[in-house]
Symmetry: C2
Amino acid sequence: MSTNQWAIGIDLGGTKIEVALVNSSGLLHDRLRVPTDSKKGYKTILKQITETIHQLCDKNGNAIPSSVGIGIPGQISRSSGIVHYAPNLNWHEVKLEDDLSKMLDKHVSICNDVRAATYGEWFYGAGKNCDDLVCIFIGTGIGGGIISDGRMLTGCNNTAGEIGHMTIDLHGLECHCGNKGCFEALAGGWAIARDAQDMVRTDMKSGKILLAIAGNEIDKITAKTVSEAASKNDALAKKNIDNLADVLMVVQH
Amino acid sequence: MSTNQWAIGIDLGGTKIEVALVNSSGLLHDRLRVPTDSKKGYKTILKQITETIHQLCDKNGNAIPSSVGIGIPGQISRSSGIVHYAPNLNWHEVKLEDDLSKMLDKHVSICNDVRAATYGEWFYGAGKNCDDLVCIFIGTGIGGGIISDGRMLTGCNNTAGEIGHMTIDLHGLECHCGNKGCFEALAGGWAIARDAQDMVRTDMKSGKILLAIAGNEIDKITAKTVSEAASKNDALAKKNIDNLADVLMVVQH
């Protein structure tokens, strides 16, 4: 087995670290997932990452990866390899690329997580052979990546693609970012949960299925609850999803 | 005088053709403006353009331009030199670059007018030495151009930068394009006129200055009327401009 056949890809989140062993064709060979000890701080997480990499390589015939790529939920500088701010990890100005590179004695590349996923779709997925591509990732928040004329857009501060904070409803509800009517504030996971909770509060009778799935606690209704209720044909959940579809149609246009 | 010292730049609009003689430093040397005979069709306009170029060159010591650039208010293909659609000129699929090139026996480049203006600001104006730049042009409609990481964005169909048709008010007023709440439908010249006319209809007393400037015809109130009234400290016109400023703040963010 050649020593440069393998690479490591890491998806670092506020709740889990997922480490993947990938072959030179970009195919996933194996992976490990561990919960993030985000409260214990930067150094503990670095240790978790390196230990999980070693564990995964050991498990796969002592695979020796030639390089490591890591996706970060935050604002980074690709030129300096510094994470400026990652809210879910509570990291400010950490030299992740340097630190991890020293610990692993390997080349490490950092990238915003959503931009990393966009590269994945571009090179190996839905956007293969496309020169123009927009990826929208809807989770609790909304992020994105933009390929234009065969190049990933970065923007002047490496935040191009943050389409979750485009204003699409000038007079809309407040977003976590402080503005009003952002795409994320209308269609992100937290916004879906907020709308469903409001709907149930207004009409408890129509909300009984949503409420039952959430263990009869309105505050525990999430986007997942809405999805479950909709699959059971619940009218309120389906209305919530129709509203979401309207917003997505506007953005897609 | 060297034969390749000069270039011709043309701003072709629905109401006027402006032809400029530009030196090799990109500086404007002289210009001529003629009204566009847009109702007489494509061939008449081509003739107008070539005649105006000859007139301008004759006027400037028989200057011999080495090439010609022309900005078009419409959708074009740079690779084929075809204008797909220019609504104000009523042009569909015309081979402008080829046709004009033959008539002038010179190299001709066509470009969307707003993107051409963005190149101007980038090379010689407000965006000189910038790698990231957004130009917003507010006239009757709203257009734009985007420079990202030292390159003009084109988009997959050469319409990148059409920021006038971003939705910023999901439930807003209808735009000419058929969608609702586009940036242009809130802040374009025609939207400013529509809002001012509505304000005057609702409150004729407060609208008396606007009305007087427009010759006492509500339908003749334009964005220019609003600007004139505001410079006279008219409260209604100033309210209209404040609303516009709010919209621009949202887009700028």
